[in-house]
């Protein structure tokens, strides 16, 4: 039902993505040492989500995929974010 999209990503882009991921991983390791109390988990989740987003965008070629697939991925992320907010709001109000 769809036409194939051919796209070649340059090696320097992959290299930059790799460096970005390594930097974020370093932050992930450092965050627990900073003792940010309740924010530690939140920052760790944001960092992990950012890394996952970068992997999906470049290594899994989401950047060059057709629009429907991007919408589906955004929809999935929206559901997961909503589920996490609903769950943890219970803990905040309890």
């Amino acid at each position: 039902m769809t036409t194939e999209v051919k796209h070649i990503t340059e090696y320097p882009v992959y290299a930059k993505v790799l460096i970005g991921l390594l930097v974020l991983t370093t932050f992930t390791i450092l965050v627990p040492w900073l003792d940010l109390t309740a924010f530690t988990a939140l920052i760790a989740l944001v960092l992990a989500s950012t890394k996952a987003g970068i992997v999906m965008t470049y290594f899994m070629h989401l950047k060059v995929e057709y629009i429907l697939l991007k919408i589906l991925v955004i929809m999935v992320l929206a559901i997961y974010v909503s589920v996490i907010i609903l769950t943890f709001s219970d803990y905040i109000f309890r």
């Binding site: 039902m1 589920v83 609903l86 219970d90 109000f93 309890r94």
Partner: protein, 534 residues
């Protein structure tokens, strides 16, 4: 649906034409129709086991006190009954059998997108089922937690929880793989010219279901692994003694298990949507509303899990939010019910067995849905929580809904699957036994539930005896109905089925009965309206 379906001259898919013959041909098949039947046979065997377990529970409950087995055995049996019925039958059920058999044909495809993955998913299903069965006979005895594996009890009981949880984990993988397969199939293999809004409504329902399978099932997988981690390594996820939170388990469990109810019911609604226009010879009322309501149910259904937890100690704010969201999910469900009834209005109604099951579905599902609102409302839920009222509501939705839709689907597509007819009169009699037996079995549970009969109790007070006895008699009538139904479907002297015995319009009715191995020689032509009866 009219148009040139460009038939093959090939023999039926039931005839072995490859290198392998007999059982080996079936066990190595990648044909979607054969895999659908592999699931059908497996589910039927498990259903007989689960049904017998249910009948023994009803017999035990015929009178107060112990009849022929003790409370620990009773706990183990209702756990196994729940595990089999939920994880092996109704969650995969309609989706794997009819999603496999008819969905690819309905969208004009020759198979699913990943045929080998499809067969692998069936093997995972069998492996998961085997592990669940093994859990009953190994370790320190069968699990006694109920199918929900609620923590912290499931992390502390000495019974064989780890094996049962591992079985459920493997079954989850099977479900995810099937979901991915169906999503890709519907996106990539629709016949040219078939846009989403030219697709029949069963594939729409299967599509919405597949998304839930892919997105929700990993949550239960992780949750079950957390139980194993807590039991084996004493990591404090759920046990307060280890610093955990039992309410977190309930959140995680129901984040999957409430959407799982829609994994069960959405394909059932898709089946009903196919049966009604055929036996009313009338275009479906509100095609787009039904299609979009499937997605709406799948979407909103993610956010209502907390209604299983109103008495768990959740915050008031969370309770109010989940109650509101629960009432919202009733809207798309009601849209479907109104559209089915509107389709029947002034239709040329032909009361054949599939339509009888469809009408029973609407009646029973409506009772189940309306009693669900009683539990969605905060004040009344406190009264009926953990009583047999919940048992009745649940069975009206799952058995009265999914179960009757499954039976309707079998009676609808049976001629297509096997190329022969069943005895219509006997099928009607079986339906009568099932409908009467079902209501006798479960309706009294509503009444004694409101009066305070707890669920999952081995014994009860004498004032509940009358209702328990009616339920047990209903259970036996239900069992007789199933025996009649199975004998009728297994008799081999049925008349040969024509390609379109019911006058259906979707693609499968244009193929011979049974269909050839490769469904279409060339892509079929797509009409503007998949239900063009007018």
């Amino acid at each position: 649906m009219t148009g040139n379906t460009n038939l093959h001259e090939e023999p039926s898919y039931l005839i072995d034409t490859g290198k392998r013959k007999g059982i080996m041909a079936w066990l190595t098949t990648t044909d979607h129709k054969r895999i659908g039947l592999l699931y059908l046979w497996s589910i039927m065997v498990f259903f007989i086991v689960g049904g017998i377990l249910g009948e023994t529970m009803r017999t035990e409950l015929f009178k107060p006190g112990q009849q022929f087995y003790g409370p620990q055995t009773y706990n183990a049996i209702f756990t196994l009954h729940g595990l089999i019925m939920i994880f092996l039958i109704v969650i995969p059920g309609l989706s794997v059998v009819f999603g496999n058999f008819v969905m690819p044909i309905m969208i004009g495809a020759n198979d699913v997108a990943f045929p080998r993955l499809n067969l692998f998913a069936w093997y995972l299903y069998i492996l998961g089922a085997a592990v669940v069965v093994i859990s009953q006979f190994t370790g320190n005895g069968p699990p006694d937690t109920g199918w929900t594996f609620y923590a912290p009890y499931s992390t502390q009981t000495h019974t064989n929880v780890i094996a049962a949880v591992s079985g459920a984990f493997i079954l989850g993988f099977s479900s995810i793989l099937t979901g991915i397969n169906f999503i890709v199939t519907i996106h990539r293999l629709r016949t040219p010219g078939m846009g989403f809004f030219k697709m029949p409504l069963l594939p729409w329902a299967i599509y919405a279901t597949a998304w839930i399978q892919v997105l929700a099932t990993p949550v239960i997988g992780i949750t079950l692994l957390m139980i194993i981690a807590e039991r084996m390594f004493h990591i404090g996820f759920f046990d307060p003694a280890l610093g955990g939170d039992p309410v977190l388990y309930q959140h995680l469990f129901w984040i999957y298990s409430h959407p799982a109810v829609y994994i069960m019911i959405l394909p059932a609604m898709g089946v009903i949507t196919e049966i009604i226009p055929t036996f009313c010879q009338k275009q479906i009322y509100g095609y787009k509303a039904i299609a979009i309501s499937s997605l709406a149910i799948a979407g909103v259904g993610y956010f209502v899990w907390g209604h299983h937890m109103f008495t768990s100690g959740m915050s008031k704010e969370a309770i109010w939010t989940f109650s509101l969201l629960t009432f919202l999910v009733a809207v798309p469900s009601a849209i479907k019910v109104f559209n089915w009834v509107a389709t029947m209005y002034k239709g040329s109604i032909d009361l054949k067995p599939p339509l009888l099951y469809a009408i029973a579905f609407i009646f029973l599902f409506s009772i189940g849905g309306l009693t669900g609102l009683i539990q969605g409302a905060l004040a009344t839920d406190i009264q009926v929580h953990d009583t047999s009222f919940v048992v009745a509501h649940f069975h009206y939705i799952i058995f009265g809904g999914v179960g009757f839709a499954f039976l309707g689907a079998i009676h609808y597509w049976y001629p297509k699957m096997f190329g022969r007819m069943y005895n219509i009169r006997v099928a009607n009699v079986a339906w009568g036994f099932l409908f009467i037996g079902f209501n006798l079995l479960y309706f009294p549970q509503f009444i004694i539930g409101i009066e305070g009969m707890p669920r999952r109790y081995f014994d009860y007070l004498p004032q509940f005896t009358w209702a328990q006895q009616i339920s047990t008699i209903g259970g036996y009538i239900l069992g007789i109905g199933f025996i009649i139904l199975i004998v009728n479907l297994f008799r081999k002297n049925g008349a040969k089925a024509t390609s379109n015995p019911w006058g259906g319009k979707t693609f499968e009715w244009q193929l011979p009965s049974p269909p050839p191995m490769e469904n279409f020689a060339t892509p079929p032509a797509v009409p503007d309206n998949p239900y063009d009866y007018d």
